[in-house]
Amino acid sequence: MVKGHKISYSHKSYSILKGVDVSVEYGDMLVIVGPNGAGKSTLLNILANELSQNKEDIYFKLKRFKEWNVLDLSKNKAKFSQHYNGDIPLPVRDVVLMGRYPYFGSIPQSSDLSAVEEVMKEVGIWELREREYNSLSGGEKQRVHLARVMTQLKNEVAHKLVLLDEPLNNLDVKHQYQVLELMAAFAKKGNTVITVLHDLNLAARFATRVLMMKNGSVLAQGAPGEVLTPETISEAYGFPCSIWTHPVRQHPVILFGN
């Protein structure tokens, strides 16, 4: 699905990523974790084709990004960014409709409008459709963008990729689970999800694979149970923890502190 070999990136003389290898398959939900400044967002941006300084090529569905037709690419891959412009003087439905821009010319078709409605109901923001985007709370704005990103990938294409940069910021616990469950279901259909998360317990619960970063390099990569060990976590964060097993779901549960 996505393959990147020896990804490096530096800003001025400061090197942010040092030779990271990533490979994700269909159906994977890869969660990138690591302490602040580890290079998580930079890695995600490179995988999303936002930064092109690195000399190594990223292969998305066996093609380099520059070999893709721009419109085709936007129907195969979408990204949820961490920071959105706060000022978008439009009603919510028009913001979500932007996700359909690759699909229609000047006037949205009924298929576009129904895609918007369907996804907005899935994400639980259909009631907000007539509200001004600028009047929403931070968490509601997050969910509007999430709906927009998912609307963009509402199509017949098999094996799509969605990249999310800390999608859970500002969300309460119910919506955190709702978003990740939506993503897990999306991945199950043969698509791929790559997301940066801060909460290791949510990573343990939802990821099929975890990539732990520190100082621009990969510290560990693999199934949640392999990566989320007391040793790796302490090494990455410099903070003690103990690992337990979830009594029902059998995934690791991390308890921080001594």
């Binding site: 960014s81 959105y84 978008i88 003087p89 439009l90 028009d94 932007m98 821009y101």
Partner: protein
């Protein structure tokens, strides 16, 4: 959520059409033939049965002027809307960020210093020399303001407006200097440019304007989606399959061409590009897919109305049209500033 844009456009065109009819009728000269529509109709058909004076007034005076008001008004409003989209700010209009000044400045330089060049270039270019000058000035001003006020996908509004002030002061100083250098007949041209007027309308100029409009609108009018998406941020617009860099560059180039042509033919008529998008935003929020095409029609309506008032209010004399648009525009400018302060 039905798309009502075609309906709005149709209604707007009807308003424009009615206004054009009224405007043709208004003026110092009273037609012998009672119906102005009949005269216009027969002029367009090439019919010679109408009184010669009537035909002259319509064909050579009023109709070209009405058409020019429509074309220039449309150009000014659309260029304002496009710049606002590119700069992501409702204050980015050709006048406020110095694009009009840049164009006026270069037009003034070509009028005064063009004399010496004129003898060596082919005759056909004489007419367009001022236009080319104005276009270069407009393009230079936009590029400069954009380069210094915009970085990493965001615009610094204070810098943008101050850059406009700087360019306008430079323009003011140099136009003053040109006035000092100018000969008598050039002086008349210069005064015309700094005040703005549609009095010099001819069919040739309208033809050129129409060609410019056809060329630029065919690209720009459908870019509403792109300008909307850029509100998310430029990187995020690219994820939606929009080629942001290319669209930005072409929009800047085409806007400069539009403002340059408008300034060359009608001088600096201010504020149309501020007023129209502002009103449309109040009615339709900032959805560029709606306000971009509508601004093309409503800019025409505004300027045609202003021009009709300007030539009838103190008839048989004429009020400079720039005064009227500034009277409308300054309050809008202040209203936007107040809103902006609230949002800070």
């Amino acid at each position: 959520m039905k798309n009502k844009l075609p309906l709005y456009l149709l209604a707007s065109f009807l308003v424009l059409l009615v206004l054009a009819g009224v405007s043709l009728h208004m003026g110092v000269y009273r037609f012998e033939e009672s119906s102005v529509l009949k005269i216009t109709g027969s002029f367009l058909r090439g019919d010679t049965s109408v009184p010669a004076t009537d035909a002259y007034i319509i064909g050579k005076v009023r109709l070209p002027r009405v058409v020019m008001a429509i074309l220039i008004g449309s150009i000014l409003a659309v260029s304002g809307t496009c710049l606002q989209g590119i700069f992501k700010n409702p204050l980015a209009t050709p006048d406020l960020i110095g694009v009009t000044s840049g164009a006026t400045l270069m037009a003034a330089i070509t009028i005064v210093l063009g004399e010496s060049v004129r003898s060596v270039i082919p005759e056909a270019l004489h007419y367009s020399l001022v236009s080319i000058g104005a276009f270069t000035g407009a393009l230079g001003a936009i590029s400069l303001v954009y380069a210094i006020s915009s970085g990493s996908g965001k615009t610094n509004v204070v810098i943008m407006l101050l850059a406009g002030v700087a360019i306008s002061s430079l323009g003011f100083a140099l136009v003053g200097f040109m006035t000092y250098l100018a000969k008598d007949e050039q002086l008349r041209d210069l005064t015309f440019w700094s005040l703005g007027s549609l009095g010099a309308a001819t069919w040739t100029k309208n033809g050129i304007l129409a060609v410019v409009i056809a060329g630029t609108y065919s690209y720009l009018i459908t870019k509403g989606k792109a300008l909307n998406a850029m509100m998310l941020g430029e990187k995020d617009a690219e994820h939606l399959g929009i080629r942001v860099e290319r669209i930005k560059r072409l929009t800047v180039l085409l806007t400069a061409l539009m403002v340059g042509t408008a300034v060359a033919f009608s001088g600096s008529i201010g504020f149309v590009g501020l007023i129209i998008p502002y009103i449309l935003r109040l009615l339709f929020s900032s959805n560029y897919t709606v306000i971009l095409p509508l601004s093309a029609v409503w800019g025409a309506i505004l300027l045609l109305a202003a021009d009709t008032v300007s030539r009838t209010l103190v008839a048989p004399s004429e009020l400079p049209i720039g005064i009227l648009t500034a009277l409308l525009g300054a309050p809008v400018f202040i209203a936007i500033l107040i809103r902006y302060k609230k949002s800070m």
